[in-house]
């Protein structure tokens, strides 16, 4: 698989490197920008990043696999992030995730993020989304949803076209 970075993105990334005293310090922001553009970070993208930042591919790989926020595979069009930290767990977020999984035909016993076959939805657990008072909390892409009941969940799914 060939990996090409559009000119504007590369210019943006080159500029980003200049913000840091050392090239490698730009790694995180660099990877965020790549993920934003491509949706995930492929091995080719990691190698390209390593070259740009004068690192070895393994250094980038360690970083990408350390943070769950970095994706190594293409995810669904709608990414459903269910908070599982204490308040939300008490507020029923586990049952809520089960509900999402059931609705979308996914296996709720699996730990890792799961994507529907049509590539439309990805469901996963995340840690505290910083709205503990309105548990359970869900993010769908960049939108925040509080006090999500099963019924509200169905509504939300319905709005995803």
């Amino acid at each position: 698989m060939s990996f090409t970075v559009p000119k504007e993105l590369e210019t943006e990334l080159d500029e980003l490197i200049t913000h840091y005293p050392q090239k490698r310090s730009a790694s995180l922001m660099f990877l965020h920008a790549i993920q934003e553009h491509f949706g995930f970070i492929s091995p080719e993208a990691m190698e390209w990043t390593a070259k740009k930042l004068e690192l070895q591919p393994i250094n980038v790989y360690e970083l990408v696999t350390f943070y769950p926020m970095f994706r190594t595979e293409k995810l669904g069009k709608y990414q459903i992030k269910v908070c599982r930290t204490l308040s939300c767990a008490l507020g029923g977020s586990h049952a809520l995730r089960d509900h999402f999984c059931q609705k979308l035909g996914l296996d709720s016993t699996k730990h890792e993020p799961q994507t529907t076959k049509d590539g439309k939805f990805t469901v996963e657990f995340v840690e505290c989304l910083a709205s503990c008072g309105t548990a359970p909390v869900v993010m769908i892409n960049e939108d925040f949803h509080e006090g999500v009941s099963n019924q509200k969940a169905d509504e939300l799914l319905g709005r995803c076209k």
Partner: protein, 564 residues
Amino acid sequence: MSTTETKPAPPPVEKIKIKVDGREIEVPKMTPDWQGKMQPTTMLQACALANQDVPHYCYHPKLPIAGNCRMCLVEFGTPMIGPDRQPVKNEDGTPKIAKSVLPYEPSTPRGAIACATPISPGMEIYPSSPATKQMREAVLESLLINHPLDCPICDQAGECKLQEYSVDYGKATSRFVEEKEHKPKQVDLGPRIMLDDERCILCSRCVRFSKDIAGDDALGFASRGSRNFLTNFPGKKFDNNYTLNTVDICPVGALTSKDFRFQMRVWFLKESKSVCTSCATGCNIVIGSRENKVYRYEPRENDAVNSSWMCDAGRLNYKWINSEFRLTQIKGPKTEWSLALRDIAETLRKAPLGSVAMVASARQTNEELYLLKKLATKLNALTDSVPRTGEGDKLLVNADKNPNSNGAKLIGIAPAQMGSNLPKIAEGIHSGSIKTLIVFGEDVTKCGISADLLGKLSTLIVSDILPNKTTEAAHYVLPGCAHAEKRGSFVNTKGRVQRFMQNTQPKGNARAEWEFLHELVYDVTGQNGFVSIEGLFNQMAKEVPAFQGVTWAALGDLGVTINL
């Protein structure tokens, strides 16, 4: 003395006093680190000086310190300082020691990692205290949580630090009732390395070795927490000249050599100190064999030569020793050693001066070359060795693939320009002035003396280990020994004279070359020499100027450097 072993007295070392397990000891304030730079002495190094080995996994004296395994935790204390900034004294006048404790729980000792904590004057270290023991037990228990405990089929078993420390600090039963974390197994890391991630304790020794010693930043840890695992970059093979060293330094059985994997339980191996013969560096090695079959080479530490490492090619170049094609019998009119040697001696004695030439490999030992030189002098023979060059690298591998080029030159078998006499020998055979050729350890048909030329000789005497075109053409073939089967010495590229010990027995009727050469030299020249390798070496050292002052005993395990 022509050795460089006599050095000016080192400058005095600054020492500080500390206590280890209550015993006072003076230790140097500074100690060389993995690169030889002086750094403050660590608690682990100080304890070693006090004969207290602190258990450790990630620490390796030849690698940068990582401090990540926590196995080396020790309880310690430092002299208490009062509000007046003066040392606080006990009633008996001794300094009061403030033990390191948890700030929020002063009854609980707070250990420090001995591998990375510098000592300070008056410090007290308690490597044998109950608190230290508890810390070790806790670290070990946590390391074993996800460990597969597959010692019965693990290649490391018998030389595994996890096993050893478990014997010392482990629990007989596991308190862990949860499901163990499963990680990648049988990971094909590179052409020579197989990884079992479940056995890995994440000490990062292999990561640091690859990056900082081999200069190939190829290994790292993916994921995090209990799912953390060692890996290469997907699809990028772990393949440099030194990968197998990671198998040696891996304290557990995570990294295994594909070559040695499942071949032999390590406790059956008979080990002896030897030297690698695959290039002029002469890395120090340990040969491991069982029932006369060699199973592995491992590097042996020698800071004057190879530190603690060796190259992969050298390490794996041992299979020829076990070859089924080894020469095991004398080939010639007489097939019994004493008769054959006498027969050869008679032929040589009758040969007109100057009609004999000799090609002796720079893979033969000093002792053998010295005896051959005696023969050559007596017969006024033109001699040479065969240059053997390949690729070198920046760390250890030398472009000269002969282990004893310097020996061959110093002893006078090879001219300064090794190989420059070979065309003259070929020419001599061609013109008929050379009628007898003695070849030790080379296939001369590969270096300008064709099989046709060999056919013109009236006598061709060859000693070798494996058959080749030259042994095929020989009138006499005397089966010799691999270095593993005899004792001897080489001079490496820097002038290090290094001896090696015998590990296995000669194959069949084969004999160590120096043994039968000694007899042959006696039969031809009438000069008696020494029948032991020690005596032979010492005699050579007296006669060959470059070796003046060196003795077999002085070579020890690590050798002696002579001026080239």
